[in-house]
Structure formats: structure tokens, C-alpha cells
Point group: none
Chain length 399, copies 2
């Protein structure tokens, strides 16, 4: 749905809509011939499927495996092919770094080079996160003309570089050569307007080398994924509502903030997440709840752990159902089949529950039944408009 049409048709209401994202929810048949969802004992989700409608969402496009950014943009109702969240931004977001409108972020890695400047280890031996934090603290001393410099550790050899200042450009080359035995190339401007930014980046690297070049390990760095904070449509403005994210992992809080959601103190597990919803139930109209463990188990190729993660979610669901949301969505940002041990392009099971949702013939929440569900197989970005329609938040088009 066109965003201008949403702006035109959306109306305020008293209703509550909850979107639960089970990260990497979709699966594939495992050793016993059933998918993770088909193997799980999920009586609450099955009941919602029986009373409501199910379907499959296509996050980006048929055949396309989404990263977390595009997968979530689609569930937030935004076309992930239009609204792109750069990797540097995602990395900064993932450590809760408060990116401003003039910030340029890059994913950075410490690496190790030899006396000739040739890379001997692209990941600096996966140096300990604490060491990376210490080196980052050193690098924060670097002064660049006209910009503020932020250097923030992520994990192991990974860190984030943020340059803050007017007129910075993201059209910059990446400096990780993706192999060893070669030198780290300089940052190059990919557009004439990016020359100053490239110079600043190279100056940062040169200063950094003065500070850490003497180290045996982690004595150099590479820079990738240069990106500005994207100027994304804001859900509160689009839909005339108050939106809150309840996510444990910072990347998902960050993605939610990028589209205008407030973030709640989610605690450390689903119980505390649903408790936070209860506490703030009257403060917001739309809640996004993120659940990570389906994806982590899938990424680890651990079929049974993914099944258990799904069952754990199901077991916690009554606390959410007690709040009586007007419309409840349960879906995923992408599939992460345990048998593939990675994100995949498979459409993702989704269910919609609410008073005006037209029940379909499906009785269980899994890939096979969702493929025949009343919601159809449809672009994920079309999910939220339907939910808000069921919540009485979209008025009629035309006379």
C-alpha cells in the first residue's frame, strides 16, 4: 500500500495491535520429515490459527533471502527494496548507538598486518571483546577537522566507526580486501562529492595506525558498509498512533527506533517483555515484540532447540492474550531453517487474530497449513495495513 494512501486513509482509534516477530520463524522439514513448527507442541498458536487466519509472507521478493534489516522493514509495512538500512547503520543500531541525522557509520574490523603492511589475519585472531574495547578507547582520542569521531566496540574484532558532521557522504569504497597477503587499500571516494569524507576516513586510519601500529595483533583496521541513518517513514506519523518496541536485542530496538517507535525496557526474557507490554498497555496503540531464539537456534543448525524455542514462545503466550489485543500478529522476519543453518528465502508463516478476521479452514500454525491459509502468500509489507484495517484504523477509499 502506497504510503501517501496510508497517510490519507489512516485514522486514530482506541484499539491495540501487537506484532510478535519470531526471528527466523520459517523452517524446513528436518530428520523426521516435519518442519520445526510442525514438530512443536504449540496449542495456543494452533488455537489462534484455528480461530483466525494464516498465510505466508514473502519478506523481500520471491527467492530473496533477507537480512534482519529488510525482514523487519517489510513487517513494519515498508518496502525493503525502497527503504534500505545500510550495514554500518545496522551495526551501530545493534549496539544501541544513538545515530543522529548527520552521522555516517561504518562497520569496522581490527586486522593484523605484518611489517610490510600485508594482512596476515583479517580478524586479528578474533581478538577478545575486552581488548577491542580498550583499543577503541584509544582511538577515540583521534581528532578530525570539522567532525566528531565515535569508536564503539561490538564483539571480538568488530567495532563501529561513526563520523558526525555536516556534509559527509556515504559514497565511499570498502577497505576489507576479503583476503590476506595484501595491503589495506585506502578509502576511495565513489563520487566527487565524497572526496572530503574519504580524506577524513583515511586521516582516521592514518592516525589509528600511529596509535596501534606497534601492536603485535589488531594493529590495523578495515572499514565497510558506509551508511547514513536512513530517512525512513515514521509509523506514528503514517498511522496516527503511538508505537512501542519491546525487544531484548539492541539491533531490533534500533530498527524500531528508525521507524519512529519508542523502546520499552524489555528485560531479559519473554515474561519480562509481556510484563512491559502490560505496564505500558495504555500508553501505546501498536506494540512490536521481538523474539530472537528461533533464529539463533536455526542459525546454529539446532533443529530441536528451534522447536523448543517455538514451544517456549507458545507457553508464554497466555500472558499476552490476557491483555486482549484487538489484533494479534505472529510472524517472522525471514525463515531460518535449522537444516540450512542460515537465513533463507522461504516464505514465512504468519497468523492474524482478531474479531473481524475472517477465519479460514486451517487448524494449525505451520508452513504446510499456512500455504493454504486465508491470508494467502503475500508480500510481508502488506501485513500491517490489513492488521490496522481489522483494528478500525483505516477509513474507506472513494465513494
Amino acid at each position: 500500500m502506497d504510503l501517501d494512501l496510508i497517510r490519507r486513509l489512516s485514522i486514530p482509534a482506541e484499539t491495540k495491535v501487537v506484532l510478535c516477530v519470531l526471528d527466523g520463524l520459517g523452517g524446513l522439514a528436518g530428520p523426521r520429515g516435519r518442519t520445526e513448527l510442525e514438530s512443536a507442541n504449540i496449542r495456543h498458536l494452533d488455537r489462534l490459527a484455528r480461530e483466525g487466519a494464516v498465510g505466508l509472507t514473502i519478506p523481500v521478493a520471491p527467492g530473496v533471502t533477507p537480512g534482519s534489516g529488510p525482514g523487519h522493514m517489510a513487517l513494519f509495512g515498508l518496502d525493503p527494496l525502497v527503504y534500505d538500512v545500510g550495514r554500518g547503520v545496522l551495526e551501530a543500531t545493534g549496539i544501541d548507538f544513538p545515530l543522529g541525522p548527520h552521522d555516517l557509520a561504518a562497520r569496522a574490523n581490527f586486522c593484523t598486518v605484518d611489517g610490510d603492511g600485508l594482512i596476515t589475519d583479517r580478524r586479528a585472531g578474533r581478538v577478545a571483546t575486552e581488548i577491542t574495547a580498550e583499543i577503541c578507547a584509544q582511538l577515540r582520542e583521534i581528532k578530525l577537522p570539522g567532525v566528531e569521531v565515535f569508536v564503539e566496540p561490538v564483539r571480538e574484532h568488530r567495532f563501529v566507526l561513526v563520523l558526525r558532521g555536516e556534509g559527509l557522504a556515504e559514497e565511499l569504497s570498502e577497505t576489507d580486501p576479503q583476503r590476506e597477503g595484501v595491503t589495506v587499500p585506502p578509502v576511495e571516494a565513489l563520487a566527487p562529492s565524497a572526496q572530503r569524507t574519504a580524506d577524513l576516513a583515511n586521516q582516521f586510519v592514518a592516525e589509528a595506525r600511529k596509535l596501534i601500529g606497534g601492536r603485535a595483533q589488531a594493529n590495523h583496521l578495515t572499514l565497510r558498509g558506509w551508511a547514513h541513518r536512513p530517512d525512513l517513514p515514521q509509523l506514528p506519523e503514517l498511522w496516527k498512533l503511538r508505537a512501542a518496541a519491546c525487544a531484548i536485542y539492541p539491533m531490533y530496538r534500533g530498527l524500531a527506533r528508525l521507524v519512529g517507535m519508542d523502546t520499552l525496557d524489555a528485560g531479559t526474557n519473554l515474561e519480562s517483555q509481556f510484563a512491559a507490554l502490560k505496564q505500558h498497555w495504555n500508553d501505546y496503540d501498536f506494540f512490536f515484540v521481538h523474539y530472537k531464539y528461533t533464529d539463533s537456534a536455526g542459525e546454529d543448525g539446532d533443529f530441536d532447540r528451534k522447536v523448543r524455542a517455538i514451544e517456549d514462545f507458545d507457553a508464554c503466550l497466555p500472558a499476552l492474550l490476557d491483555l486482549r489485543p484487538d489484533v494479534l500478529l505472529v510472524g517472522g522476519d525471514h525463515s531460518t531453517p535449522a537444516v540450512l543453518a542460515s537465513h533463507s528465502w522461504h516464505p514465512v508463516p504468519v497468523l492474524m487474530s482478531g474479531r473481524t478476521v475472517r477465519a479460514d479452514a486451517q487448524h494449525r500454525f505451520n508452513e504446510t497449513e499456512c500455504a493454504e491459509g486465508g491470508l494467502g502468500i503475500f508480500p510481508a509489507k502488506e501485513l500491517l495495513p490489513q492488521a490496522f484495517a481489522h483494528a478500525g484504523r483505516l477509513t474507506k477509499y472513494g465513494a
Copy 2:
């Protein structure tokens, strides 16, 4: 399907295609847990569903509730987000007013103001239609420079104002303040090019006040929904065929005329509508039959009456089947679930019957089976091209 592609691929043929629109056909489960269609005894429609294919149409976009205009544009194969029929045009169309290319139409209401010009009743006490007709006759005396003026009663306090002349603009403000105790504002030009039209409109209102200002009731008027007759693609030209509408209610005849259909004398019920089809069977290639009572019952929240309206349609169907159309479509312009007593955003059941239609596994014509039907869940504008393909009216694309 892109209209240029239709123009390129469409070919004449001897076949007959009939589109039956059961207004507001789609429903929701009522008190007994079944939808209106699921509750109805419809052996002819069920047989067609068994022999043919069913599906669900999305009139405008997922989650969007269509008005009658957009709902029909989509069934006529036109994107309702591109081809917009303004409210003034729809109102004029609804009283069979023959809008010309230079006509600017507005929905008008008589209202009552007090001695200070403050609105005391926005609907003038829902003044009787006969009185409105009399006042309209008075207002027809008004002369405006360079334009012809038409003032036509609709019902109760509602009437239509049409200004006919070159260079009129529709970028005009609406003058119904939507509340009482305030004055009726003047028409304002929303674009510089609309200033002359705004002046003419205000001159009309001033002249009208001289004529009716002395009345106790219905002594002023408000104007809304300014619109030109849209320049819509014409089905006969697009599809190389002769098209006729067989509708009892003027609004639907008007919508059909806007896309180039002739209108038949439809009489007052389905029997006379199908008799008209029989009479003109050799004169046209495509027939649009409109059936209103499913929607009126739904709008009234009368579940059982909607069920009966569906059954009545089914009972009349043999008269149409006797004509042996090559392709028969039965669908709706939108859903009007009786439990909601209003138009809704839910996808609409549709069935397609014809010699080359690939039968699906569905055996009944209702929401649940249509959700799993062979036609899928698809934009309503894609229905007609498929029907014309089955009618041998689309040639091959590419070698």
C-alpha cells in the same frame, strides 16, 4: 495488466462474457458461525464453483475498504488507485445525470442557517425530496457568466450542482463545516487556476441565497466533492468489443457509462435484467449485471436478508445460464459483512466458469473455499483479463 498491453493483445471474437456483480458480496461469520454465503442454499452457484474455479479478489489494496466507485473500477479491469471517480461525479452519475467532458459536479446539501448566518441544521431537517425538487427548480433560474448551470435533486436535503463550461477547475475547497453553529464558508480556490471557478461557485451561492434565504428551513447550501468527469479508458476500445450494463440503480449504470458501456433497460428485478440480456444477446460481447440487494441487506446489518438476497440471485441464475455465456463471472465490488453493517476491506469471493477454465478442488462458493481456490487471492483488476482470455479475446504475447 497494463492497458497498452491489453490494446496490443486484445482481439475480436464471437464469444459472450457476463460479469455479475453481487454488490457487497463478501461476508463474515454471523451468529451461527457461518458467513452469509456459507449459510445460503445456492445450488447453481455451488455447481458453477464445482465445475469452474473460485478465488478471492482484493478490490483496491490489502486492508483498504472500497467505495462503490473503486470497487467497480477494479472489476472493470482498471486500477482504482489510478482511475479515480470523484464524489461529485458519482452523485451526478447516481441520478442518471449525463455528465459531459466539460462538466464540473459537486455534491450539495441544503442546510438551515439562522439570522446571523450560523448553521442550525446541516441537513435542513432532512427536508422532503419533493421540497428539494422544488427548490432545485428555483435555483435553475440562476445565470452565471460563461457556464451553464444544472441543479438536480437527489434525495431529502441532497442535490447535485453541475457547472458546464470550458476551463472549469476542480481544485476547490468544500464548504460543509461538518458542524453547526458556524457560518458556511466561501468556496476557495486550492490552485491559482481555480480562482475563476471558485468565483463562479460563490456567485451561485450568493444568487441562491437571494432566492431561498427567506425560507425558514433549507435556506442555504453547502458544496462538496468537486469533480470533473474522469477521462477513463473505454472498454470497447481497450478490448475491441461491445459492452452493455444491465443495472437497476443509476449509480452503477453511470459507472458503466464512464468506461464506455451502453446501458440496457434493466427493468426492476433480476428477471427483467436477464430478460434484457436475452433480448440484447446478439448486440453485445460483454455484459455487466449489477445486483444491489446483497449490499443493502449487509449495510442494514440484516444477516438473514443478505442470505436471502444471495439465494434469490441463485434462484434466478438459470435464466442467465440458459443463454450459455462463454465465460461467466460472479463476484462482488467489495465485502459488506452483515455483522459490520458496512463496506469492509475483506477480499471478495469470485467464481469463473467457462469451457477453458481450469477446475480447482473447490466444491462450494463461499469465503472459506474461495480462499483456497484455483484463482488465488488476487487484485480484482486482474479478473477481467483472465475472463477475456478464456473467451478467446487475448492473443499470444511474444513469439
